[in-house]
Symmetry: D3
Subunit: 314 residues, 6 copies
């Protein structure tokens, strides 16, 4: 497989297909229009300027179009840029697809669905099991496609399901070591905690927040959904309250977005499982871009820390 756009060094010439993530028109100091393009493949994204842009260029080189480019990697104010020599829209005969340029979870949807089904199957409390299964079914397609966030962690196609499956495995391992934990609650908490994101976010590509997402948030959206599901299924036990509580409290503190802090044991542990998996994802991706003996860029969602890769990690 050929190198990704982020894997080239300054000075190299590249010729490849790229997806236009965004295209913004500006006016140069000579008075002529130009386009600032953000181009991406699965390795990441790079900026390029298209000078003296015509009206046709504006149409051809708009967001979500695929293009073929020839250019040089340059450094501008400490960041790489692509200096364009040639650019043309991709044609059907080029045989390239949108999905070739999008970062996707490393496990297939089928495999993830199968794992999730198995975890639900293992549940013993029928109220918990039925509500969880009902909601997963209801949103299954989106759940398997959506990212877990617009940025920070698991922000790729199927990132939400991938995050959930990793958390399920972690929940199982922890419950194995601390047998007083109720596995049904842990698994249900993991499965439902972020499911509201299929309503909060716009979808797997160019992900933004929906109006409902902005005004209500995935936490409250899912809490209401649990009440609704229980009503539809005719379930009324305390499990309905506890499942809502698991979702409401999974951010841990009011200032982190949870209207209630965890007040049952499994809610407290769910918060940690969510954190560990999200942070492992961010750490691995930040560290794979640096060499031993180097620090990563500062990672905003990790309190703006720059992490070190020890020299003996090679």
């Amino acid at each position: 497989m050929s190198k990704g756009i982020l894997q080239h060094d300054v000075g190299e010439q590249v010729e490849k297909f790229l997806l236009i993530k965004s295209s913004v028109k500006g006016t140069a100091s000579n008075g002529k229009p130009f386009l600032t393009l953000i181009l991406q493949d699965q390795s990441g994204e790079i900026e390029a300027k298209l000078w003296d842009a015509s009206e046709a260029d504006e149409k051809n080189y708009s967001a979500e179009k695929i293009v073929k480019v020839l250019g040089d990697i340059q450094n501008y104010r400490g960041r790489n840029q692509l200096r364009l020599r040639q650019i043309r829209p991709a044609t059907p005969t080029d045989g390239v697809n949108l999905s070739d340029f999008l970062l996707t979870a490393p496990v297939s949807k089928e495999e993830m669905l199968s794992k999730i089904t198995q975890y639900i199957f293992e549940m013993k409390n029928p109220n918990i099991q039925r509500i969880t299964r009902h909601l997963l079914k209801k949103y299954q397609d989106d759940f398997l496609e959506f990212p877990a966030a617009t940025k920070n962690h698991h922000e790729f196609v199927s990132g939400l399901a991938y995050h959930v499956v990793s958390m399920l495995d972690l929940a199982k391992a922890i419950a194995g070591l601390y047998p007083s934990l109720d596995k049904d609650l842990l698994y249900a908490g993991v499965l439902l905690h972020d499911l509201g994101k299929v309503t909060e976010l716009s979808g797997p590509i160019s992900t933004t927040y929906t109006v409902e997402g902005n005004l209500l948030g995935h936490i409250n959206i899912m809490a209401s959904e649990i009440v609704h599901a229980a009503n539809e299924l005719g379930i009324s036990g305390e499990e309905v309250v506890i499942l809502q509580h698991l979702v409401l409290s999974h951010h841990g503190k009011a200032e982190w977005g949870s209207p209630k802090p965890p007040l049952i044991k499994e809610a407290e542990i769910l918060h940690y499982i969510d954190n560990i998996d999200a942070k492992m994802n961010m750490l691995d991706r930040a560290l794979e871009r640096v060499k031993p003996g180097e620090f990563t860029d500062r990672v905003f969602a990790l309190d703006n820390r720059a992490f070190y890769k020890p020299t003996f990690h090679n």
Copy 2:
């Protein structure tokens, strides 16, 4: 009308009926059991010790019983106590009722209900009107009886409805001065914002938090109820999201319990209306206990401030 228990000065002898709010058994240094009684009437509450308490005393003088007492007001560590000389349970022939001892809103339920009905009637947006009317109807009896809180403000019988009616009048006055405000949203926000308290709290007497109240909170309980009401009424417009948002955001900030800050204009103003009415209630009650030229006790819910009554306020 005779003086309330809090209106007597140290040294005075009192003879009157009082309600036992709580009764706790202890053991004196001489080894004998005694009861610590909290006695109340509409003016407030006072502590009394019943020494050498028999088993019969324990039964007769338990919480929610009415008693007739003869005793002296004394000061103990800076707080008034009632030193008991005589005590006996009230009998049917005494002609006293529980409601004689409970603080109640200064307006009748009928009057409040009539005002609320009028405000709902004035709404123009049918989606907002129908959802609001539906939920008020559903919880009408409790809504008219519950306090607004277990302590701090409007913590008396019918305090919730009284708080809401005052807020409605305030909302109307403010909307009159700022015509860009949507009155329907303001009124609906006022009516629904604390309605979840009928589920969060246990009832009008000896009010405590329910399990659902502790684990979910009145904010999330009502947000789910709005979704549920909209489903039942077949309403699906953006009003459903906005009404939820009004309830979710009315505490103003995450650290004050709102999972979302106000993001529409009426939500921001609702937060202020709630604050002004709650604070006026707390301030009036703290200040009516002191004379001009004095400071009140510190009021915990007002950032622990002690307020001053100017000498020219008489």
Copy 3:
């Protein structure tokens, strides 16, 4: 009336008079000087570049000059710019005045003064009335001309008086609903709370902070003025302390700039009245720039929130 500069869409050509708010010289990449002009009318401000600027240009196109321009509205990095085709200084025969380009309160000075006079007339406590009237008289001209701030809210000509008059009406409405409030104190607090801004700020145009404003602040400036006024008028009652306290505490908390938190009831309510009026002003102006279904830009002084205009608000 013709459209304001902010009401044109990208691509439109405009020909109109504008006021130069600021003019900064730079050097282009071709080595030649250019001017970055901020041009304004009552609708707002826009940036324009004047390339190849001569020394004469620098003089002609400096701050507070009026110019006639012909140009096109363009988008540059997400913000509108004016691309200049022609520019010339305004001449006396053009018949344009500075005040045509400045945003001003929607009510005349005379009307505001008349309202304020009426509110002072209604006061019953002579000490409060005399001190308030004395200070308003002393600073009357500036008070009617100054903005309420350099940015955030009411930052236009006569914004200070407009803010105060709106607050007086709000104070009257609230005092009508909560009769325990002392109207004299509320009105005096409203009238004096920001009066120190006529010393803290430089004036109605290109408003900045004075040295006294930076080192003392309008709160302490006015507190000293009240002492001074009382001395001159020979007034010595507790009202002098209370009026100072109203001014000192009106920001509500130490971290918001108040050396004392509100410790009398009217001070607490004054803080809310100030907030509601300031926020309504900010919210209305942010929301009038967006269409239903859109979010505003983030508003720094509103905790950086972006507000939503419901789709049913049209």
Copy 4:
């Protein structure tokens, strides 16, 4: 096995041996001296008053003595007390030992040592392995006896080693799921992170902070020990810095006592492992004292939360 002192209900008479944890002399209102005794067994502790205490009583009933008591469980101000009827010092013929009254880890020292030895054996990096083994050897006896804290979590005999062994198992499970983690660093971090507590704390019984503990803290004590150990062993690689960093950063944030936040991946995960194990220990102990459907007392070290035991957890 007989019931522990905390497992009796109010009204029950008990006759049993207890350890005096502390004994404080006071003067009753009749002018006579009395002793306030805190008595404990493995189930917890209870207060008792010994009235009319003689000088001999003072000597016989001092801290760390074992006594035989006969008395009744009573409730005083919401907490259980033991009302003494008879008390006498234990004698050699009673056959009771100090260790019968102390809470101890549920696993034997030998078993814990064997597990730890195995984990060190599995390390692959010789620098990490040698430093870790050297320090564990140096403090082995105290490490196997000390509690992990004076209160909050694992505050029992051998609590430190028990906490470490649980964390090792958790580290192993997590490293199994996230193979990019360096197991050597994780295990060494777990083994060393709290080892400074053998210097910070006074010992396994009546644990207090030493002067060195108060002025330096276990974190800095152990960081210096690592430098010292590396010097003695002639090790100078980057591992020495990284091991110090793991210890220094394991509290996660400056305000939680870490002079540096975690800046390598394993340090971040170590912080979570420490938290999960400490919280599981606190949660299990708080919850085992309540019945399904009840809330625990507020737990100070868990942000003062009261946790709920669901009714379906029985």
Copy 5:
């Protein structure tokens, strides 16, 4: 000189004169009244109970009376108490005075006044000098008698002047090392910074806050006084603003009570000089009560820290 009341150990019998700081009536469990007396001499204060108190006792043993007592030092709940055997009011023939029982600055008023006069004399800027001298003169008597606070630091007779004189010497030493500092501003800042306390506090004995102190605070009181003094003296230079700023900013931050942070160099250094002198006073007094190798009690005003006296400090 005989030992102070705090210098006796538990078990010792004492016979001495003491000042009653406060006297509160209570009711014992036998139903009889008793008095809780706080008795003090220059070494500190101790609690004593006067059982079976008659009405005459209440009058004779009220606050600010001097008494002769015979009694034993006892320990009650970890604090020393005085168990009374005999008590009688002091008579004129006893030859004891109020001042014998009050803690006073270790330097005479005359000496302090002379030093202060000298510092003012050294000032070179006549505006600064005249305003400072005018205000010191105006409040000279109170300034030389008042404490610097009701508690925490320099809370003794003449504590305010003593604090100021120590700060002047410290200011002189620092200005000697950093010659860019303006000595006139530093000295004036030191002399005026707390002068408002003569209005904020009630006086040298049983010191409390006045209404003006509570509602305005010493910082704002003195800022207004500076304006007033400048007006009376006909001074109008920038020095008037700067002197106000020194006073307003000397607490350093808004949350510590300063409406403006220090914005001139001497204001910043004044804040440090104030801190060092206040902390040295608190530290010396806390440490003189403990022996080498011990920790002091927690000192609330020093962030609740307990300080250690090294074993080699003897």
Copy 6:
């Protein structure tokens, strides 16, 4: 001596030698490469653009090279720039040295060393004296050359030693006024508190943090060094713990980087001495760049305040 680069006004032509601090390549809108040079002398630094840069230019004009330039001072976006007319590398015959362009402490190394030696000589406690002398000797060369920080305060050659010497003089003055202070501890604390910076920082030029500096920090590095020194010298008294504590606590609070707050008197005062000297250095340098009547730029390390230079300070 000729004017420094920062002392020229806009419009002036300059011809002088400058040191290249950094050189970054970019691409102009005409597609040609250019260099952004940061040029410095002892007065400070200025930006310059070298257009149409050849590959030879890139080599000749790289960091730490000295160049001779001819150009004009211009203003670009409010900051001065140097518009280059001519530039050439310095040659040996130019007779210029690196040290001519670096800011250095105003006192010679010899003088500073002699003062430090004298302070150590004055110590009376042999344990404190020997450890301090040993560590100063060990790092003497770097200690006399390193800056005290990468930015903020004393960030110049020999800045660390200069900061320490100023603090020693300040410590002596304060100990003279408060004789209860232990001078040995104060002097040792001053000498050791920042000595770890010779390991934390990279050196006197282009100073950055080392890996050890980032992961451990100068505070912990020096605490370990003290233990090591004591071991080597065979010293074991409490002084070893106290010296570590002085270093560990000198930042004052956990959130400012100290794992322990000051818990001995001299540690508390050391924190203030460090602050005063660092702030005087920052204040003097910020204020010497402005004229009386002006505010400085905002100083980040002084809570982002802009300081005012009074008009009567000339």
